[in-house]
C-alpha cells in the first residue's frame, strides 16, 4: 500500500499543528464558533447529539495493521473503547472531546493517518472497491488512481469552499463494487484504443433528498488527463453550483438543471484551457505510485484440498465459506469479508480489542493489510485457502465470523437518532430487531442475497435508496415513522428504490419487513434473488400485502 514519503508526512503534520492552533484560538475565544465551525468540519469534527464525533479518513478504505492498531489506541484512550466504520470507508469515533483532538491528530499523523476533509464542503474521501487489486474481473487496480486523486484533492486551495460536499469513487472492474452511479463523480476504468489506461467519467449521482443516478459525460478519458479533467469539473461546479439553497447545491442538481450536454460542454471548454498544464500526469509519477500497490509476495503452491476437506467436515465453516469469501485473481487465495454485523448487534461497530486482534490476524494471514467496505464490514484480501479454516476459527472467537455477507442480516445502518444531531429517527434499534427476526427466517428459507439499508434521516448516509429493501426513518407527529423503498441497487445495474406507501411506526416496521419477505417467498422462483423477483413482479404484490385494501398514491 502507499507509504508516505517525507513530503506526505510533512503535510499531515503541518495540518495537525495548524488545527492545534485553531483549537487553541477557539478555546481562548479568539475564534468564534461561527468562524471555527467551517474549520473544524474540514477536519472531520462534528458536534453530534451527545459529544463531538471525529471522522478519521481511511483513504479508499485501505489500511495497514499498524494503522488499525492506532485506531484501537485512539478508541481506548480518547473514546469509549469502540469505533464505527462507515459507508464511505472511513471510521468514526462518537465520544470525542475537542480538547483532545490536537493530540489525536498528532497520534494519527504518526501512523500516516488524518481527518482531513472528511467533512465540510470540500472533496471528501475518494472511495473504491474493497476487492481492488485482487478481483479477477478487474481491468486494473483502481487504488493507485484513488491515491493520485487523494493527493490532488487534499487541501486543494481552489476547492476548499465548494457549494456542497463532493464525493468521488473509482471502480477498476465492470462489476461495480464502488457504487459509482451514486457519486458526484464516478470513474470506471477502461482500456483505450491503444490499450492505455483510462476512465469512463460519470457525473451527478447522489442520494439524500433528491436521489439521482450519475450521467456519463465522457466515454474515454486517458489516465494522464485525469487530474486536469477533474479540475475542470470541479471548477465548473465551484463557479456555477447553487449557493442559495442548501438542498439544491450538490452537483447533481446543476447537471440536471443544465442538462448533461450543456454541462459537458462547459467542462470540455474549461478542460481545453488546462489539459496541457502541470496537471498532466507523467508516466514516472504514475509508475511510482503504482509500484506502491504491487501485490504482496504470494506463495507458489497452495494445497486447496485442505480447504475442501475442512468444508466437508465443519458445517459452520462451510456456511461461512459459502458467503464471506470472494474469488481471488491468484489461484489458491481468497479475499475474506470480516463481518461487523453479528445478529442483533450494532452494524459497523468494532471494539478496540477486536481491532487489535484483527490487526494481528491481518499480519499473520493477510500481509498486514485490511480494507473497509461500503457495507460497514472489513476485508482481509490475501488469505491462503489452506489457512482459511484457522483464520475462521480465530475470527469466530472474536465474534467477527457471522456468515452473512450480502444476506439479510448484513444490514447497513447509520448511527441515527441515537447519536446523530441530524437524524429524525433511530436506525440502530430497528437494525438490531430486524436482524434477530430475519436471521430466523433466513435460517429456514435461505433468502440469499438481500440487502437492507436503514437511514435515520433524509441525508441517507446508509444509502437506503440503493438497497433491495430501503428504510428511511422520519419524524411524523412527534413519533418515528419508517418509510420503505424496494428495488434499489448500487451495482452496475444501479437503480433507485421506490417508495412503497405510507410509513410504519417503530412498533410496526419489523413486521412490515417480514410481510414483504413472506409475500416474496410465496412468489419466488427457485433460488431467485429478492431484487430479481421484485423486478419481475413489480411492486403491486408487496403493496397489497402491506396495505391490503388501502390504496395509497405514490
Amino acid at each position: 500500500m502507499y507509504a508516505y514519503d517525507d513530503l506526505d508526512g510533512t503535510l499531515v503534520r503541518e495540518r495537525a499543528t495548524q488545527f492545534r492552533n485553531q483549537v487553541a484560538r477557539r478555546i481562548s475565544g479568539d475564534l468564534s464558533e461561527n468562524e471555527f465551525k467551517p474549520l473544524r468540519l474540514r477536519n472531520g469534527l462534528y458536534l453530534q447529539l451527545h459529544a463531538y464525533m471525529l471522522r478519521v479518513a481511511i483513504p479508499y478504505g485501505l489500511m495497514s495493521a499498524s494503522q488499525l492498531r492506532a485506531l484501537a489506541r485512539i478508541a481506548r484512550r480518547y473514546d469509549r473503547g469502540y469505533g464505527h466504520f462507515t459507508t464511505r470507508q472511513n471510521v468514526q469515533f462518537n465520544w470525542i472531546r475537542l480538547e483532545d483532538v490536537p493530540d489525536i491528530l498528532d497520534e494519527l499523523a504518526g501512523a500516516e493517518m488524518h481527518a482531513i476533509q472528511t467533512s465540510g464542503n470540500c472533496i471528501r474521501n475518494t472511495t473504491t472497491d474493497q476487492f481492488a487489486g485482487v478481483a479477477a474481473d478487474e481491468i486494473e487496480d483502481p487504488r493507485p488512481w484513488a491515491e493520485i486523486i487523494r493527493q490532488w484533492s487534499t487541501l486543494h486551495p481552489e476547492f476548499s469552499f465548494l457549494p456542497r460536499k463532493f464525493k468521488i469513487a473509482v471502480s477498476g472492474a465492470p462489476n461495480d463494487r464502488a457504487a459509482i452511479a451514486v457519486h458526484d463523480i464516478g470513474l470506471s476504468m477502461r482500456r483505450g484504443p491503444d490499450g492505455e489506461t483510462g476512465f469512463k467519467v460519470w457525473v451527478g449521482g447522489g442520494l439524500g433528498r433528491t436521489p439521482m443516478l450519475a450521467e456519463a459525460i465522457r466515454e474515454f478519458l486517458p489516465g494522464t488527463d485525469l487530474l486536469s479533467y477533474l479540475e475542470a469539473i470541479l471548477r465548473v461546479f465551484n463557479v456555477e453550483g447553487r449557493r442559495d439553497n442548501l438542498y439544491k447545491s450538490r452537483i447533481k442538481i446543476l447537471v440536471a438543471a443544465l442538462g448533461v450536454d450543456r454541462f459537458r460542454d462547459l467542462v470540455e471548454a474549461e478542460w481545453a484551457h488546462i489539459r496541457d498544464s502541470a496537471l498532466r500526469l507523467d508516466g514516472a509519477e504514475i509508475a511510482r505510485i503504482r509500484d506502491q500497490f504491487a501485490p504482496p509476495p504470494y506463495d507458489a503452491a497452495v494445497d486447496c484440498g485442505q480447504f475442501a476437506g475442512k468444508r466437508f467436515e465443519d458445517v459452520a465453516f462451510a456456511s461461512w465459506s459459502a458467503t464471506n469469501l470472494f474469488p481471488h485473481r491468484r489461484s489458491g487465495y481468497a479475499a475474506v469479508t470480516v463481518s461487523l454485523k453479528p445478529v442483533g448487534n450494532i452494524p459497523g461497530d468494532m471494539t478496540a480489542d477486536q481491532m487489535d486482534a484483527l490487526a494481528d490476524l491481518a499480519d499473520e494471514y493477510s500481509h498486514g493489510e485490511i480494507r473497509v467496505t461500503h457495507r460497514q464490514n472489513l476485508v482481509l484480501a490475501h488469505v491462503r485457502q489452506d489457512r482459511l479454516y484457522d483464520l475462521w476459527r480465530a475470527l469466530d472467537s472474536l465474534g467477527l465470523a457471522t456468515p452473512n455477507l450480502m444476506r439479510v442480516t448484513d444490514i447497513i445502518a447509520c448511527p441515527g437518532l441515537d447519536y446523530c444531531g441530524l437524524a429524525t429517527a433511530r436506525s440502530i434499534p430497528v437494525a438490531q430487531r430486524l436482524s434477530e427476526r430475519l436471521a430466523e427466517i433466513d435460517e429456514r428459507h435461505d433468502l440469499g442475497e438481500l440487502t437492507i439499508n436503514i437511514s435515520g434521516c433524509i441525508n441517507s448516509c446508509a444509502h437506503h435508496h440503493v438497497a433491495h429493501i430501503g428504510i428511511l426513518g422520519l419524524e411524523k407527529a412527534g413519533a418515528e415513522s419508517y418509510q420503505v423503498t424496494l428495488g434499489g441497487s448500487s451495482a452496475e445495474d444501479a437503480s433507485l428504490g421506490k417508495i412503497i406507501g405510507r410509513g410504519f411506526g417503530a412498533d410496526e416496521i419489523v413486521s412490515a419487513i417480514e410481510t414483504v419477505i413472506v409475500a416474496w417467498l410465496e412468489r419466488r422462483d427457485d433460488g431467485e434473488r429478492f431484487l430479481d423477483s421484485l423486478r419481475r413482479l413489480g411492486l403491486t404484490p408487496f403493496r397489497d400485502a402491506l396495505y391490503g385494501a388501502e390504496r395509497t398514491t405514490e
Binding site: 514519503d5 513530503l7 510533512t10 485553531q22 476548499s160 469552499f161 465551484n238 509519477e285 511510482r288
Partner: protein, 174 residues
C-alpha cells in the same frame, strides 16, 4: 479593517490608500477607488480620463469574463466573500492570474477569515482585508502554516510532485 499585503516578498500589515465608492457617488480625486461591475459597465467610457488608479469590486456571483478586454485598466480587483462558505472567487482569482495574466492587485474583501488567506494566496490573491482587532503577527503567520502542497495553483510554490521529481533527478545524477 486590517489590510494584509503580500504583493512583495513578505506579507505585511499595510495602510490602505484605496476606497470603495458606491454607485452614484462621485469618485474621489485624491485617492484610488474601486467601483462596482455594474457601474463600470454603465460608465466605462466616462472613466477613461481618470488619472488615479481605478479598481473593480466584484460580488460573489459576478464574473470577470464579461469585461476581459478591460482588465488592463484596473490596478486592483477586489473579490467579495459574502460569507465564510462562498468559495466562488477562489476560482476567479486563479483565472485572473493564470488565464488572463492579470498583474494588478487581487484583494479578498468581505468575510475573510485569517485561516483562509493561505489558500487565497495560493489562488492568486495578494491582498486580504481582515476585520479589525485581529492580531497582526498571527495573521501574517497564517501563510507559513502549510508549506507542503500537492497541487499546482496560481502561486509559484513548488508542489510535492515537483520536489519528488527534483529529488529523483538529483539521485540519478549522483
Amino acid at each position: 479593517m486590517m489590510l494584509i499585503d503580500y504583493s512583495n516578498t513578505n506579507p505585511t500589515v499595510a495602510d490602505d490608500p484605496w476606497t470603495h465608492v458606491a454607485d452614484g457617488a462621485a469618485l474621489p480625486t485624491d485617492r484610488p477607488a474601486t467601483i462596482s461591475l455594474q457601474r463600470w459597465k454603465a460608465e466605462r467610457d466616462g472613466l477613461t480620463g481618470r488619472n488615479l488608479p481605478l479598481g473593480l469590486r466584484l460580488e460573489s456571483h459576478e464574473r470577470v469574463d464579461e469585461i476581459l478586454p478591460d482588465l488592463p485598466r484596473f490596478a486592483l480587483i477586489a473579490l467579495e466573500f459574502p460569507n465564510l462558505n462562498d468559495g466562488r472567487h477562489f476560482s476567479t482569482a486563479r483565472m485572473l492570474r493564470e488565464r488572463y495574466s492579470f498583474r494588478g492587485r487581487v484583494r479578498a474583501v468581505g468575510q475573510v477569515l485569517r485561516d483562509q488567506i493561505n489558500l487565497m494566496k495560493r489562488c492568486g490573491f495578494d491582498q486580504f482585508e481582515l476585520s479589525a482587532g485581529r492580531d497582526a503577527a498571527s495573521a501574517v503567520s497564517a501563510f507559513e502554516e502549510i508549506s507542503a502542497v500537492y497541487q499546482p495553483a496560481a502561486d509559484a510554490r513548488p508542489t510535492i510532485g515537483y520536489q519528488r521529481h527534483r529529488q529523483f533527478e538529483r539521485a540519478m545524477a549522483t
